[in-house]
């Protein structure tokens, strides 16, 4: 007998409810600053087909933002992973750098913006702001992944006469890899969330953050919401893709974290 799963039905119930509530509220408020569902969908369509006031279309905005985020994210991986491995292996380096890293971690990317404007220019501005957002999740996960390596597994390696380097390569890093990867996923997400801040100061007119800023000046809330939704959806898709890749890559793990 074939059983139809009811799960998709239930899963779509809540978003549907949210949309209905939104539409109802917007009709009650009846203000141009509170667009309804239809209006926003219309704006999304306009952005996709005709583009914004300057004729730049939605996918171009998304693509530029994505490339900037990937740039900053790559830089974050290249710096945070080696540093995290080093700090995870050497307690001394970890303890020495903690008083510097910990306060910096809590400075929001927005707070850096005046400084970035003064010190950096061009593409470096994007890179820096996104790097800042992505760096810490990756670093912290890498450190904890390395530190969490089972001492027994390290001893197995030693008992076969493996040197320190071989043990790190064959035991410590593979065992930390799931945590490093999930740090990368979280880092990419945070980096993506920094896109508006980064594009506030990057000069170019293209990018999802730019799109939102542009229309907020024009008081076009429908367009702003359309931009927000695009950021949300792209972020969600990236996360899903990476989550699936993780499950596949780390099939040997019984559980995969969220």
């Amino acid at each position: 007998m074939i059983r139809f799963s009811r799960e998709p039905l239930y899963a779509s119930l809540l978003p549907l409810g949210v949309l209905l509530l939104w539409e109802a509220l917007s009709r009650m408020v009846h203000s141009s600053f509170f667009p309804g569902v239809g209006e926003v969908l219309g704006s999304l369509w306009t952005l996709l087909t005709k583009g914004d006031v300057e004729g730049i279309r939605l996918h171009e905005h998304a693509l530029h933002s994505l490339l900037r985020v990937l740039g900053g994210f790559s830089l974050a991986c290249l710096t945070a992973i080696p540093l995290g491995i080093l700090m995870g292996l050497r307690e001394g380096i970890y303890r020495l750098s903690k008083p510097v890293l910990e306060p910096v971690r809590f400075i929001p990317p927005l707070a850096w913006i005046p400084l970035v404007i003064l010190l950096l220019s061009g593409y470096w501005r994007y890179l820096f702001v996104i790097w800042l957002g992505a760096f810490f999740p990756i670093l912290l996960n890498t450190i904890s992944g390395i530190k969490r390596t089972s001492p027994t597994l390290v001893e197995v390696s030693r008992s076969f006469g493996a040197g320190k380097g071989t043990t790190v390569k064959k035991v410590v890093i593979p065992s930390a890899l799931p945590e490093i990867t999930s740090g990368m996923r979280v880092g990419l997400g945070v980096g993506w969330m920094c896109i508006v801040a980064a594009e506030m100061i990057g000069g170019e007119r293209v990018g999802l953050g730019r799109l939102i800023l542009k229309y907020s000046e024009l008081l076009r809330v429908d367009m702003v919401v359309a931009g927000m939704i695009t950021i949300g959806v792209v972020g969600l898709l990236m996360n899903e893709v990476l989550l699936r890749a993780e499950k596949r890559l780390f099939i040997w793990r019984r559980e995969v974290s969220l």
Partner: protein
């Protein structure tokens, strides 16, 4: 392998913890020797010292005349706790030591898996295996480097009686085929007398060798034979002197 007047203490927060206090014994090449002793007396500590994973406070250990050094001697260590690499398949786990030592050849790995009854499980990950299977893989991994000395730390402690029994027979058979020198730690007396050529009985901590018993019965052995039962009784009596409520 020779152990002479071995002492080991740990410095803990509570102070100096004397674990081994003058342990001496010898294991000849190809011999199967068991160590039994009360829980916490220092059996794991002894194996770690013999395996070169830790260094003695005083005294001497020599393997073929040299101090134990994992990069010098070929050792196979089977740990008390779960020790398989969860990200490696059975096959890759068994290859691990060979990779580290730069030993070529996949055929040996295959033969070993066959002999350990692991055929068909080559591509499984540890979490897909039963406890008994995992220990088989751990033993295969240790044997795969063709070790001069096999150190086994209560490898069957966490298994049910039946699985344990099967593994005893398999280990005996394999040992007869490969004739490795084995130092086997356990607190299971039946296991010790069934498997070994000699049994070292340890005292409570700080541990010394209390008595050495020669089993001297031909294999295959019967666990319920009069000879083995008598030896078991003897060992239990000795342990009772150490731990009265046993």
């Amino acid at each position: 392998m020779k152990v002479e007047d071995l002492h080991k203490h740990f410095l803990t927060r509570e102070g100096r913890l004397e674990v081994l206090k003058g342990v001496s014994f010898e294991v000849r090449e190809g011999e199967f020797v068991s160590v039994v002793g009360p829980s916490g007396c220092g059996k794991t500590t002894l194996l770690r010292l013999v395996g070169g994973l830790d260094s003695p406070s005083s005294g001497r250990i020599t393997i073929d005349g040299k101090s134990p050094d994992p990069s010098l001697h070929r050792l196979g260590f089977v740990f008390q706790e779960d020790s398989l690499f969860p990200w490696r398949t059975v096959w890759e786990n068994v290859r691990f030591g060979r990779e580290v030592r730069g030993m070529e050849g996949e055929r040996e790995v295959g033969e070993l898996l066959e002999r350990m009854g692991l055929r068909g499980f080559e591509r499984c990950y540890p979490h897909q295996l039963s406890g008994g299977m995992k220990q088989r893989v751990a033993i295969a991994r240790a044997l795969a480097v063709d070790p001069d000395l096999l150190l086994m730390d209560e490898p069957f402690a966490n298994l049910d009686a039946q699985t344990r029994w099967i593994l005893h027979q398999d280990l005996t058979r394999i040992w007869e085929e490969v004739r490795k020198t084995i130092l086997f730690v356990t607190h299971n007396v039946e296991e010790a007398v069934y498997l070994s050529d000699r049994v070292l009985v340890f005292t409570v901590r700080p541990a010394r060798v209390k008595r050495v018993l020669r089993v001297g019965l031909p294999r295959p052995r019967d666990k319920l034979s009069a000879g083995l039962v008598k030896l078991r009784k003897e060992v239990v009596e000795l342990l009772r002197e150490e731990v009265p409520y046993l």
